[in-house]
Every structure is written in structure tokens, then in C-alpha cells.
């Protein structure tokens, strides 16, 4: 096993993952360096979301074989919150509702737990206001409860807002573009493009249309728990046009 490159953010080696005894990921390799945007496309059930969740440390998934490294460090021993504090971020496909907890309080506490220093009142407010105006979010968001009664687009914007504030070194974006209208898609893309140069990005999507706004370096086609083909942005167009059948392994 080689020494990690200085700008290596994520390395996945021969990963096998099961949920309740069913194998979902069956031998996957992937390396993401700083400044790289990777896109994974695939059918429902191909194991895309599982990959994002297992990298973040979801307890429901069991790694049966292989390893995951973040900045060269094996993740095995790190709890979910330690991964977050180390600089990993997952934008959820379905973010959880936390009733009674105001967005403002939540953001401040989250930033305080991830950064070494607790954010200062005024400086943090300024940072927050800037990020929110960039994402065209109204201030009234701050007094709402986390994801409660949020539309799909609002949930995704809150995810991206958190990403901007937490400034991760590795951003995993799980179907962040699903269910967004054109405006929301443009706004969300702006957030991704802002974070991308300093981080490694893994974008999971079904659609090529996000890629009108975000330029990936690598596109991977995932089928039945493995990456079967890797290419540039043109692969995304091809997948959208032709579907996945042409990539299926012969039985």
C-alpha cells in the first residue's frame, strides 16, 4: 500500500458492503484528489447511495472486505462525528427532520463542533448572511425547525448552506439535484462550484442536467455494486442517452 499523496482526499480499495446480509457493493475502487469532481451515475439500487453512506460511516452498513481512507487515514476506527470533524461532509438525499431545533441554533452548534474554534457571534453572523444570500435563502430560514415542513428544494439548499459553512475537504453529494427546478439547480451548483477547488467532490446523480452547471473531471458508471466504466463528462451524456443496458455484463 503506497503512501497517500498529499492531496488525496478519498481512497476506496476493493470495497465490499452488505446490509443485513445482502451484498450491495461488490468490489469498488475509487480515488478522489483535492480539486477533483467525480460523478457517479447508475440505476436505482446500483449501490450509489450506499457508497456515500458507508464512507460517512452509517452504522447500518457492514464493510465485509476492503478499506476506505480519508487523507491517507483508514476510516475504520472513526465515528461518524469524528469523520465530520476531520473534514468529511455528506449532503443527504433525504435529510432528517429535527423538530423543535431552529436552523440558526443548529448551524452555529454544528460549525462550533466541526471547527477547532467556536465561531464568534458577529463574525459568524456575517459569514452566515453571506452564504445565505449566495444561495438566495431568506433570513426567515434561521428560525424554522431543521427540515420541518421544508420543500425538497429548501432541504437541498439547507444541505448546501451547511456545506459552505463547514468547508469540508471531502464533499459527498447524494442526489442533491433530485427534485430541483432550474433555479434551485443553478443555485445549488453555485455552492458546489465554490467548495470544489479546495475539496474532493463526489456527486451522485441520475441526471446529466446538473453537469450543465458543474464540470466533472471524472464520470463513473456504477452497475450492481461496482464501477464498470470511467470516463470524462461525455460519458454522462452517453449514459443519459443510451441508458445502462449496453454496459451490463453478459450473464
Amino acid at each position: 500500500m503506497g503512501v497517500a499523496m498529499k492531496d488525496e482526499m478519498l481512497r476506496v480499495e476493493n470495497l465490499h458492503v452488505s446490509v443485513e446480509g445482502t451484498a450491495i457493493i461488490k468490489g469498488l475502487d475509487l480515488t478522489i484528489n483535492r480539486g477533483e469532481i467525480h460523478v457517479i451515475m447508475g440505476r436505482n439500487g446500483a449501490g450509489k447511495s450506499t457508497l456515500a453512506n458507508v464512507v460517512m460511516g452509517h452504522p447500518a452498513y457492514e464493510i465485509t472486505e476492503g478499506s476506505i481512507f480519508f487523507q491517507g487515514q483508514p476510516l475504520e476506527e472513526l465515528a461518524v462525528f469524528e469523520r465530520a470533524r476531520a473534514g468529511m461532509f455528506l449532503s443527504f438525499q433525504y435529510p432528517a427532520v429535527i423538530p423543535g431545533v431552529q436552523v440558526g441554533t443548529f448551524l452555529k452548534k454544528s460549525v462550533a463542533s466541526v471547527r477547532d474554534e467556536a465561531p464568534k457571534g458577529r463574525a459568524f453572523r456575517k459569514e452566515l448572511t453571506e452564504a445565505m444570500s449566495q444561495l438566495e435563502m431568506d433570513k426567515s430560514f434561521l428560525s424554522r425547525y431543521v427540515n420541518e415542513g421544508f420543500s425538497g428544494g429548501e432541504k437541498k439548499r439547507l444541505e448546501i448552506l451547511q456545506m459552505l459553512l463547514l468547508k469540508p475537504s471531502l464533499a459527498l453529494l447524494d442526489e442533491t439535484d433530485s427534485g430541483l427546478d432550474i433555479d434551485a439547480l443553478r443555485i445549488v451548483s453555485k455552492g458546489i462550484n465554490q467548495i470544489a477547488p479546495q475539496a474532493g467532490c463526489l456527486i451522485i446523480t441520475h441526471y446529466q442536467r446538473l453537469l450543465d452547471h458543474v464540470k466533472p473531471h471524472f464520470v463513473h458508471a456504477m452497475i450492481d455494486g461496482t464501477i464498470v466504466k470511467t470516463g470524462g463528462p461525455e460519458l454522462a451524456l452517453e449514459l443519459e442517452e443510451r441508458g445502462y443496458d449496453w454496459l451490463d455484463m453478459p450473464a
Binding site: 460517512m56 460511516g57 465515528a79 462525528f81 465530520a84 432528517a96 429535527i98 431545533v101
Partner: protein, 468 residues
């Protein structure tokens, strides 16, 4: 460190205690003589002595409730309780004159500081009696009476006689009988017509001695068109043997009056907390009970409102937190006795580490009370498999025009919520604390901010060491 000090060490932040410097201390145990001695010591009018004795006899004759947590109730040893303990000869108006130990205790509890910042008056009860009492001059000038109950009986005997025991008769239940027999301390408040008391007044109840019984008695009368917000807090040292707190609180809201009564109960887990709280609301009056139960071994308390006048409104918002070895048997009762009366009941409970929380509610609509509306919402959150939550709602609806809603839910913290929060940098304990604070938010937002912040901190502390 002696044994007592060791006993006081634990998670509970208010478990410290002072040395006992009683000026008068009755021997443990209860008898008619004890009841007469309390009355004589306080130099009370004959009618009060007679009422105490009558109540004592009722208490003796009355069986324990056959519902609730009977095992815990039956384990109360009434002979091992001190029924009267005077720790200071006078109720002072200046903290500097309060004995040092006691003053330091209230300083640690933050009472004098809160008084300066945001309260209209404070009464501080230590064991059986108030050691400190003060009201802002402007309130006094408007004719507001805010006294400890003993002083109230002395200085306003007619007013007290007119209302005392009219909302909660001594024979209401075994513990209202006990309180009526041995009551000492508590608050007496009268707000004259059309006076809006802007700043809350606060009572703080502290038990210090071992095996102490605290039996404060509170009577609040808010006259026509007036408003009052009363806040109470309570704590006690942690001991390995039990103490008993059994209060009676009577509220009277005259026509168009509004009373809000907020409680943050945080007794140590060796205290039995068996309290009767009831209000009467006349025409277009509003009574709000905001009732938080965090501490105690067993709490049985169901704040009630009798909606006696047309258009009266009741609001009961309560939360209960049952941790290890605790049973919170709480709830609300609302009786719609007049037409077009309305009520809202919101009850939220959390059970953890084998704790048990029970919601017990009564909603009654009388046949002649037409056009009433009521909404009852009960939410329970259970944090682990060893904990328990029960709901015992009773509805007696005697009128078909009533518009009623009832919602109940029992939930667990979902693994999705935990994973989400942990992915944002929160440890599992911090995540739990956040979820718990959020769950109680509909309650905490009703508290004065200082209390809300304190309560949130308290709940976060409770979540420490709760995982794994």
C-alpha cells in the same frame, strides 16, 4: 468528606446541602398534636386550627390512592418525616440579613441575580417557611399583595378565609388533606382590578434537611381584568433517604383576568412530589399552567382548570422527564362547566434509563356547556428499550356541540436523525441533547428566557453518559 457530602455527589447539580441550623425543629412523625403545635406556633385564628385538625382526621381516615404508582406510594413512611422546621426566625426583606448559609444557597441557585434582572417580586422558602420576601415598590403602590402565606393569613385574614380551600377542599384527596393539616409557607397573592403585572413574580422552594416534609400552600387571586405571571422553581439536596413535598396551589381568575403559572420542578431523586394544583376561571378569564417536571422520585401532579364562566380559556403545557429510578405521573384536567369555553392541553414526556412517564388526563364537558372547543396533544419520546411511557386519557363529554381533538404519539429517536446530526459533527450524546431540547421546545419557548436557557442546559447534562 463525610457520608452526607458523598451522597450529594452526582450528576444532579443542586444536590449540595447546608448544615442544619434549625431554630425550631419538630420531632419526626405526625399526630393531631403536631398539627395543633404548628398552628399554635404560628398563632393562627381558631378557624384555621379547626380546619387543620379536620383535615388531619380526614388524612388519617383516607386510604392511599389505588391508582398511579401504588408501590412507591405505599413505601412512603409518614413517621420518618419532619413536618415543621424553622431555619430563620424572620422573613427578611434584604438578602444581607438572611443567614449566610441560606443566602449562599440561594446565590448558588441564582435567585438574587434573577430578582434584580427580571422579576417583580421574590419569595424564597427554605424548609417550612419563607426566609426572604420582597416585592417591587411600584407593584405594592398599585395595591398588589404578594406575601408568604403565613404573613398573608396574619395581615389579610378575611381575604384568606374567604378563598382558602374553596378551589381545593381539604377532602379532595389524601395529599390535599395532608397539606391542609400541616401547611406552612407558600405564596399569597392578590392582584386588584385592572392591574397588569408586567414582570413575573417568583417563588423558589428549597428543601435542605434530610427526611424533610415541605407543605407549602399557595393561593392566588387575580381580580377582574388583571394579569399575573407567577414562576416557581424547586430543588433539594440528594440524600439516600426520602423527603416529601406535598403542596396545594389554588388559583382564582376573576372575569377577564389572566394567570400564567410556570413551574420548573427539579427536585433531587429522593423526593416524593405529590401536588394538587387547580384553578377556577370565570367569564372570559384565561388560566395557563406551564408545568415542567424534571426531578423527583415520584411526581403525581395534574394541574386542573375549572372553566366556570362563559368564554373562559385553559392552557396546560407540560413536560416530564423520567430518568433512572424516576416516575413522572403527570397530566392535566380541564372541566368545561360553561358555554363557549376553550382549552388546549399539550403534554410531552421523555423516558430514559428505565424511567417511566405517564400521562393522565381528564377532559370533561358538562351537558349545559354548549359550543366548547378542546384540543389535547400527548407526545412521548422513549430513548431506550428499558424505559416506559403510558397514557391514561379520560373524556367525559356531556354535550354534542363540543368540538374536540385528541392526538397522541409515542416515538423513539430515529437512527436517521442520529446519523444526520452526527454527520454534522455532533457526538451521539450531543445529538441526543439536541433532539431532546427540540422535543421540549414547545414548552421551553413559553418560559421566561432565563429559565429556558437553564432548562436546556439541564437537559443536555441529563444526556451526558446516556449512551452505550
Amino acid at each position: 468528606m463525610n457520608d452526607d457530602a458523598l451522597e450529594a455527589v452526582g450528576d444532579y447539580r443542586y444536590g449540595f446541602h447546608d448544615p442544619e441550623n434549625a431554630t425550631i425543629r419538630f420531632d419526626k412523625g405526625l399526630s393531631e398534636q403536631v398539627v395543633r403545635d404548628i398552628s399554635a406556633l404560628k398563632d393562627e385564628p381558631q378557624w384555621m386550627t379547626d380546619l387543620r385538625v379536620k383535615a388531619y382526621r380526614h388524612f388519617e381516615a383516607r386510604a392511599m390512592p389505588d391508582w398511579g404508582n401504588c408501590n412507591l406510594l405505599d413505601s412512603i413512611n409518614f413517621e420518618n418525616i419532619t413536618y415543621f422546621l424553622r431555619s430563620s426566625d424572620k422573613t427578611e426583606k434584604d438578602w444581607d440579613n438572611v443567614p449566610d448559609d441560606i443566602k449562599n444557597t440561594f446565590n448558588r441557585l441564582g435567585i438574587p441575580e434573577a430578582e434584580q434582572k427580571w422579576l417583580g417580586g421574590v419569595t424564597a422558602q427554605y424548609e417550612s417557611e419563607a426566609v426572604y420576601h420582597s416585592i417591587r415598590e411600584d407593584l405594592e403602590e398599585q395595591g398588589v399583595i404578594f406575601l408568604d402565606m403565613d404573613t398573608g393569613l396574619k395581615t389579610h385574614p378575611e381575604l384568606v378565609k374567604k378563598f382558602f380551600g374553596t378551589v381545593i377542599p381539604h377532602s379532595d384527596n389524601k395529599f390535599s388533606a395532608l397539606n391542609t393539616a400541616v401547611w406552612s409557607g407558600g405564596s399569597f397573592i392578590y392582584v386588584p382590578k385592572n392591574v397588569q403585572v408586567e414582570m413575573p413574580v417568583q417563588a423558589y422552594f428549597r428543601i435542605n434537611a434530610k427526611n424533610m416534609g415541605q407543605f407549602e400552600r399557595t393561593l392566588i387571586i387575580v381580580d377582574e381584568g388583571s394579569t399575573l405571571h407567577y414562576v416557581e422553581g424547586c430543588t433539594a439536596p440528594s440524600y439516600s433517604t426520602d423527603s416529601l413535598h406535598s403542596a396545594v396551589v389554588e388559583l382564582i381568575a376573576m372575569e377577564g383576568a389572566k394567570i400564567r403559572y410556570s413551574t420548573v420542578q427539579n427536585w433531587s431523586s429522593n423526593v416524593y412530589n405529590l401536588v394538587t394544583k387547580r384553578a377556577v376561571a370565570y367569564k372570559n378569564a384565561t388560566v395557563e399552567w406551564v408545568d415542567g417536571n424534571i426531578g423527583s422520585k415520584l411526581t403525581m401532579k395534574y394541574p386542573s382548570v375549572l372553566l366556570k364562566g362563559e368564554g373562559a380559556h385553559a392552557e396546560v403545557i407540560s413536560v416530564a422527564y423520567a430518568g433512572e429510578g424516576q416516575h413522572q405521573d403527570t397530566g392535566a384536567k380541564v372541566h368545561h362547566l360553561a358555554p363557549n369555553t376553550t382549552s388546549n392541553i399539550l403534554s410531552k414526556s421523555i423516558s430514559k434509563k428505565g424511567g417511566r412517564s405517564s400521562y393522565r388526563g381528564m377532559l370533561q364537558v358538562m351537558p349545559k356547556a354548549t359550543g366548547c372547543r378542546s384540543k389535547v396533544v400527548c407526545d412521548a419520546l422513549i430513548l431506550d428499550d428499558s424505559s416506559r411511557s403510558d397514557t391514561y386519557p379520560t373524556m367525559e363529554i356531556g354535550n354534542a356541540t363540543a368540538d374536540l381533538e385528541h392526538e397522541a404519539s409515542v416515538s423513539k429517536v430515529s437512527s436517521d436523525q442520529l446519523f444526520y446530526l452526527m454527520s454534522r459533527g455532533f457526538s451521539e450524546e450531543e445529538a441526543m441533547g439536541l433532539i431532546v431540547n427540540g422535543f421540549f421546545e414547545p414548552f421551553t419557548r413559553e418560559l421566561p428566557m432565563e429559565y429556558a436557557v437553564e432548562l436546556n442546559k439541564l437537559l443536555e447534562l441529563e444526556m451526558e453518559g446516556s449512551i452505550g
